[in-house]
Subunit: 368 residues, 2 copies
């Protein structure tokens, strides 16, 4: 059992190596079966299925890992013969994530994803290169919308079949429903706030709500909840896991906010101040704006660099945020959240608690 | 029992009037509960929920009607106390349809839907009118993508909960899975063919495949299959309903093709030759192209009017199609399909057979 903070990432062994292979095998089998269904409609659809296979191959499998440890914490066995359903639901989480990212890239007009062209961009380029009829960008949009829809529908199919097979629908239907509504609600709120003035009253609270639902619930809390529910965990165990999930998921996003402005480009692989250039409505920026209230010159620097592609303006905005007290405020909040999250692990089975401790450190003390 | 053709639409009584009210009540209750979930995340999301409520209010409820008659044909009782699950699954079909239409309008860049601005257009306009930050069109796109995703996720939630409650998942999971993959595959093929040259080999076969999956399976065959499966129908009944569904659904789309070019604008409410202006890759156009092979001048007229906004060019293309023999070919095919569909009704319970006969006539002999 673990409860103390202070372990460093380097000490954490890679967790659940066998899970990883099982999830890959399940995704491969599922996508292969679904590819065959598309080919049965028309052989031209093979390329569409391949797009999804390639996209999913690049995932980090973070949500499956939390789902797995929810299962183990809830008393689920590691024996491969017993854990096929949890592996299938973990794989379904990767299909949901594929929909979320493909649609998100369209919404954010992101040109790249994990160092490759995003789906709508890749499809538009193929269309243009082939000299096909019609507008290439619109074709990219169409395929990305439909491919995301397919991934979402297939995720539901995989989830429902697996939970039903295990006679666990009554236990996991609620977190599955909640997770999908929460992430979409978080995205809708994010999009709505992006349309508001940056000094909109309540912007800080809204940014925190986006973190809570778009990141914490979706990435940590609900995957743990699903795994634990599947295992038939006691309510107290589920409550502890969810408390850990909200705390660590929120801290994870706050770390992301800090790295998005102050991260070392040679480590993150992203440009300095990238979140500022993209005009992301993060808690960090909202907090800085609060901290700078009354400091007209620095607030003007922040505004000038927010959404700007000019390196000098972005650097000045970065300096304004640094001077606002917001980074220290976020570091304190991260520490408090990590402490609370680790505290919630008390009483859970040793291997799950150790793994979740390690994941918490990896998620919140990372440099990229 | 009915099996003969030749009844006219005017003789057909409105079917299942009580179903209609039950579906409306279920949709209202479901959307109200889901609206409350969005408001619990942030009160700003109320407007998003309202968008979906308004959009769904305008639906024609065609798929619920087929689902209902599948249920009745399969032995399901009309007693309100017994039919709550089929009504809920019928309502779920309307949520799927909301996703399909909202995303379709985005893909097709449609400005209007049922005489109102389409969702992405309405949201973009509100954004622009309010003077909000950022690109209004991109904001409209973002909300439309996410709203469609919500409708798709909520459809699955409603379906799964209802089927599970009735202990019917084993009977209806397969048609539910198939329906969603089929409609998305049909849409993807439609989009793919739109990028191909109009004289692409296999264009006629591909247009027929699009009809089969995007329209027939999704609109008629699978809703019937779901209703019948839910009622625990015999395999033979399901086979008959599916045969009817494929035939009538395909004929329905062929009638749509004819109305889209030859429909009377004063009756259809749509511009003459609308499908030509929009460059739709219909079976009618592909068939006309086949019929005109070797008739260089008429083929040139068809090509010139296809995708054109010029009324003269569209009229010339319409004349070329009329001269191609394709309309007669489609009328013959519709007659044969309707005969086959009605033939499949033999042996089904009287009220369901009568209702499905009426729906077949309404769907295939309509003038708008």
């Amino acid at each position: 059992m673990v409860g103390q903070t202070g372990r460093v990432a380097a000490e954490i062994p890679p967790v659940a190596p066998s899970l990883s292979a099982a999830v890959e095998n399940t995704l491969a089998a599922e996508l292969s079966a679904r590819r065959a269904e598309l080919l049965a409609v028309d052989e031209r659809l093979g390329v569409v299925a391949d797009l999804l296979v390639d996209f999913i191959a690049d995932g980090k499998r973070l949500r499956p890992e939390f789902c797995w440890w929810g299962w183990r914490a809830g008393g689920g066995r590691a024996d491969p013969a017993d854990c096929a359903p949890v592996v299938r639901i973990a794989a379904a989480l990767e299909l949901i994530q594929a929909c979320a990212l493909v649609h998100d890239d369209l919404i954010d007009r992101s040109e790249t994803r994990r160092g490759r062209p995003s789906v709508h961009v890749a499809v538009a380029k193929s269309h243009a290169d082939a000299g096909y009829a019609g507008d290439s960008d619109q074709h990219g949009l169409a395929v990305a919308v439909l491919l995301g829809d397919l991934a979402l529908a297939w995720a539901d199919d995989l989830f429902t079949a697996s939970a039903h097979q295990l006679r666990a629908l009554d236990r996991v239907q609620q977190p599955w429903r909640a997770m999908r509504t929460e992430v979409l609600a978080g995205q809708l709120l994010d999009v709505s706030m992006g349309a508001m003035a940056t000094d909109e009253p309540g912007a800080l609270a809204a940014a925190m709500t986006v973190n809570r639902f778009k990141t914490a619930a979706y990435t940590v809390e609900r995957p743990l909840h699903l795994g634990a529910g599947l295992a038939g965990a006691q309510t107290e165990v589920i409550d502890r896991l969810r408390r850990y999930g909200v705390a660590i998921g929120t801290a994870f996003q706050l770390r992301d906010d800090l790295l998005g402005v102050f991260g070392d480009p040679t480590v993150t692989g992203k440009p300095a101040g990238g979140d500022l250039t993209e005009g992301k409505r993060t808690v960090l920026v909202a907090q800085a704006r609060t901290g700078l209230a009354g400091t007209t010159a620095l607030l003007a620097d922040l505004d000038a660099g927010f959404g700007s592609a000019d390196a000098g303006a972005v650097a000045a905005a970065t300096a304004a945020i640094a001077a606002s007290g917001a980074p220290e405020e976020l570091e304190q909040r991260i520490s408090a959240l990590v402490a609370d999250g680790l505290d919630a692990l008390a009483g859970l089975p040793d291997d799950a608690a150790t793994a979740l401790h390690g994941l918490a450190v990896r998620a919140t003390a990372r440099r990229r």
